[in-house]
């Protein structure tokens, strides 16, 4: 019984998906990054715990709204039983349908989030109605922020914000299209990813402000000789000093 319900739900969800991809042109494929042949591209979604986190808030909101509506309904029914009976279908509709829509929307939100990383850059896709894709190269990264709230910590994921140069008034409330930053929410291995991204950002010796890579010549290449190296050099010097002597005796 439970399995057939699950199968039916999956079937309905697939139907919604095919409607979105066919009519609303939501891309079916995860985003790609153009790379050289030998480099690997990893693409992944937020962790499953992020979905559970979203659902927790869904259930809290759902229960709160439905209790409010139920109280309203009871008040109306007590005041005038006839009106109470008449609005029963409407009340049930308002209590149930938005919840189903919201539940499906949570799944869709999760399924349309993609993070793609290559060795040089990252691409983030999100959104259902307005699909937003952000591309940032690691060389342009200025800083990486890791944020985690108490509930997020309980679920074991964190959010990573990658920022590039330039600022401006950050438009509050407009969480998707923030300029100069890429937001990766719901990462199970956020700290590893942060280290990985920071490593790649550190390899760049420029300021990350679009300056030429010729400016950042490797000036310190010859330094960094250890004592062992110096000893070896001394030995080489001695060998070279001996060279003409040996040749002279050989002749």
């Amino acid at each position: 019984m439970n399995e057939s319900i699950h199968a039916a739900c999956t079937w309905c969800y697939e139907g919604v998906w095919s409607m979105l991809t066919n009519w609303f042109r939501v891309p079916r494929q995860p985003p790609t990054l153009p790379v050289a042949d030998d480099t690997v591209v990893t693409s992944f979604r937020p962790s499953d715990n992020y979905l559970r986190y979203l659902k927790l808030f869904f259930w809290i909101g759902c229960v709160a709204v439905d209790i409010g509506l139920a109280i309203l309904w009871i008040v109306i029914a007590v005041a005038s039983p006839l009106v109470g009976v008449l609005i029963t279908p409407l009340m049930l509709f308002v209590m149930i349908v938005p919840d189903i829509v919201a539940y499906v929307a949570i799944h869709l939100k999760f399924d349309t989030m993609w993070y793609v990383l290559s060795d040089r850059s990252m691409r983030i896709r999100r959104g259902i109605w307005v699909i937003h894709e952000t591309t940032i190269t690691f060389e342009n990264i200025q800083n990486v922020r890791l944020t985690q709230g108490p509930i997020e910590r309980y679920f074991g994921f964190a959010n990573l914000v990658v920022e590039t140069a330039g600022g401006g008034a950050s438009a509050e409330g407009q969480s998707h299209g923030q300029p100069h930053q890429g937001i990766m929410v719901g990462l199970a291995n956020a700290s590893e990813l942060r280290d990985c991204i920071m490593d790649k950002a550190r390899q760049s010796q420029s300021a990350g402000l679009g300056d030429d890579r010729h400016d950042s010549g490797k000036k310190c290449m010859a330094t960094g000789f250890t004592d062992v190296d110096v000893a070896l050099l001394a030995e080489i010097r001695n060998q070279i000093v001996q060279l003409p002597l040996q040749n002279a005796t050989g002749n």
Partner: protein, 175 residues
């Protein structure tokens, strides 16, 4: 060059004007404002021109109040590709390019391009840090010099020492 990885038919330098379907999109967009915005958007569509060269991209528009934006590919900080529902139906998209300036919105929003994704990938390839490692200095014969790290240097020196020692020993062996 990396451009060859893209769709070979796509050539960004051929783009000069937005696709005509952008005008249809503008008509739809101006419906909520009872078509009040349409004249302005119409002039924008008529005068919008793009220039993609090998150094950078420029766009200009306007009839009375003219605007022109120029930027070089190297200064691009991040690229945003945004497509809303109506744009997706028309195959349009907005490619937002941000430089390190202080403005909150994108410095340049390229609209009305039907090949938005190849264009985005073209810009990405031109962007700083998207292409290969910086070239190493060339030696006399024109080959790139391989610069080893600390351990390799020691290894190299040890090899030189051994070679010299063998040369020194050679006359003795012959005797």
């Amino acid at each position: 060059m990396p451009e060859t990885q893209n769709d070979s038919a796509f050539d960004a330098t051929k783009i000069t004007r937005p696709a005509p379907v952008l005008l249809t999109y503008y008509v739809l967009v101006s419906v909520p404002s009872l078509f009040l915005a349409l004249p302005l958007l119409w002039f924008r569509f008529l005068t919008l021109r793009y220039t993609f060269d090998h150094e950078g991209v420029s766009m200009r528009w306007g009839l009375l109040f003219r605007k022109e934006i120029l930027l070089t590919y190297r200064r691009i900080q991040d690229i945003h590709l945004t497509r809303n529902l109506v744009q997706r139906w028309f195959g349009l998209a907005t490619v937002g390019i941000q430089t390190a300036s202080g403005s909150a919105g994108p410095e340049m929003s390229i609209e009305g391009i039907l090949e938005a994704e190849p264009l985005r990938d073209f810009l990405y390839q031109q962007m700083r840090g998207a292409r290969g490692e910086p070239e190493l200095p060339n030696d006399a014969s024109g080959k790139p010099v391989s610069l080893g790290h600390g351990t390799n240097t020691t290894e190299l020196l040890r090899e030189i020492r051994d070679h010299l020692a063998r040369i020194n020993r050679l006359p003795e062996d012959q005797q």
